[in-house]
């Protein structure tokens, strides 16, 4: 349904870096979790993958050392056994299953209600998540209905994905699946809408917000 689809998406540059595999892990979790909620970005991601496939296929081949094929053929059989080792899946309660799509859910380490939330003032609780990546911080944030989101004291960029509820920032309303990108230079004070608690996933000091030439250039292909 068009009405359920997110209205705010990651920057084109960020989608591109995700497709290229150069985006940090925390930001990649945000992009991929947004994609679970956004069919449009799933299609765009498939197209950016196809650009990568086309480019990689066009590279000048570099020969492998002699016997590489034979060595690989000899290993085909041991890999048949490795295939049967599937990871066990964690069980989650209904609220967690419904609110937090994969891949973010796998990073929680428990159900939403059981996590060691930390109070940040009267109306905000935060749950820092341990996601690899130099200098990047990632947190789940719960904001009481009608309350302001935490003040932005960071010096870089904060990207926020709404998981449930909504917040209002100026004229824009960010609901489930929407991605808000804010820099410290933008004066804003987002407030959770009055109907319900707002649950967000925030990545701080992720990729610099750039609307550079690469994303614009690629848009022409991606819409082909």
């Amino acid at each position: 349904m068009a009405d359920d689809s997110p209205a705010f998406h990651p920057d084109p540059e960020v989608m591109l870096a995700y497709a290229a595999g150069t985006l940090d892990e925390a930001s990649s979790v945000l992009v991929a979790t947004h994609m679970a909620l956004c069919p449009r970005c799933r299609r765009e991601s498939a197209r950016l993958d196809a650009v990568g496939g086309a480019l990689a296929d066009g590279l000048e081949p570099v020969p492998l050392s002699a016997g590489a094929l034979e060595a690989t053929l000899a290993r085909l059989e041991d890999h048949d056994q490795a295939a049967s080792l599937a990871p066990t899946e964690a069980c989650h309660d209904h609220a967690t299953l419904h609110s937090v799509p994969e891949p973010l859910r796998s990073y929680l380490g428990g159900d939403l209600s059981a996590l060691p939330w930390r109070w940040r003032g009267f109306a905000v609780r935060e749950m820092p998540l341990d996601i690899a990546g130099g200098g990047v911080r990632a947190s789940l944030i719960r904001v009481r209905a009608g309350a302001a989101l935490p003040a932005h004291t960071h010096t870089g960029v904060e990207t926020t994905l709404v998981l449930s509820g909504a917040f209002q920032d100026g004229d824009s309303r960010f609901g489930r699946g929407d991605v808000a990108t804010a820099t410290h230079s933008i004066d804003h004070r987002p407030v959770a809408t009055p109907e319900a608690e707002c649950l967000c996933f925030a990545v701080i000091d992720g990729p610099l917000r750039l609307t550079g030439p690469v994303g614009r250039l690629l848009n022409r292909f991606v819409r082909m």
Partner: protein, 170 residues
């Protein structure tokens, strides 16, 4: 690179070769795929900063994954070149960046499905890869170079913009 075409078979598409592996564990299909893709995978990994030994090792691992996961290949979702590229990209993140590659789960109950009209809007197949490559090659060199570097260099786009002398940001 040795190219192995089994006698008595006509040229099969890369998509068909992966499907032959899935259907019957066809080793000659694998050898054909290997001859085409392994040297390109090695080139891709070298471009992204792997040394020659590591690039070769990862290229072989990627081809083993192609063998192992051939049954999950779906040509209506992505062409062979795209599918193999994504395997190589993810293996590189795992091996060289030592990070995980987070991806959405298509069978996740929380996933928002595409509206029926959107779902069959575009089918991206192997032919699309060829069309894209022609389109990229038709660009002015400084523009196609910019796109290649976005995929083949692990730099921020600001660095790419600075090095190319093109403005970043608005």
């Amino acid at each position: 690179m040795q190219s192995i075409s089994p006698p008595g078979t006509t040229a099969r598409s890369h998509d068909a070769l992966i499907e032959a592996i899935a259907a019957s564990g066809d080793r000659s299909a694998f050898a054909e795929l290997f001859a085409h893709f392994a040297p390109r995978l090695k080139a891709y990994l070298l471009r992204l900063g792997a040394d020659a030994a590591t690039a070769e090792e990862i290229a072989q691992e990627v081809m083993l994954t192609v063998w192992r996961k051939a049954a999950s290949f779906d040509r209506s979702q992505a062409g062979a070149g795209t599918w193999i590229f994504t395997i190589a990209r993810n293996r590189r993140i795992d091996r060289l960046r030592r990070e995980r590659r987070p991806e959405f789960d298509p069978s996740d109950p929380a996933l928002v499905p595409a509206a029926p009209a959107e779902a069959d809007q575009t089918v991206w197949t192997g032919q699309v890869e060829g069309r894209l490559r022609i389109a990229i090659d038709a660009l002015p060199p400084e523009q196609s170079d910019l796109i290649r570097r976005a995929y083949f260099e692990d730099l921020s786009h600001r660095e790419i913009a600075e090095q190319s002398g093109l403005p970043s940001g608005r």
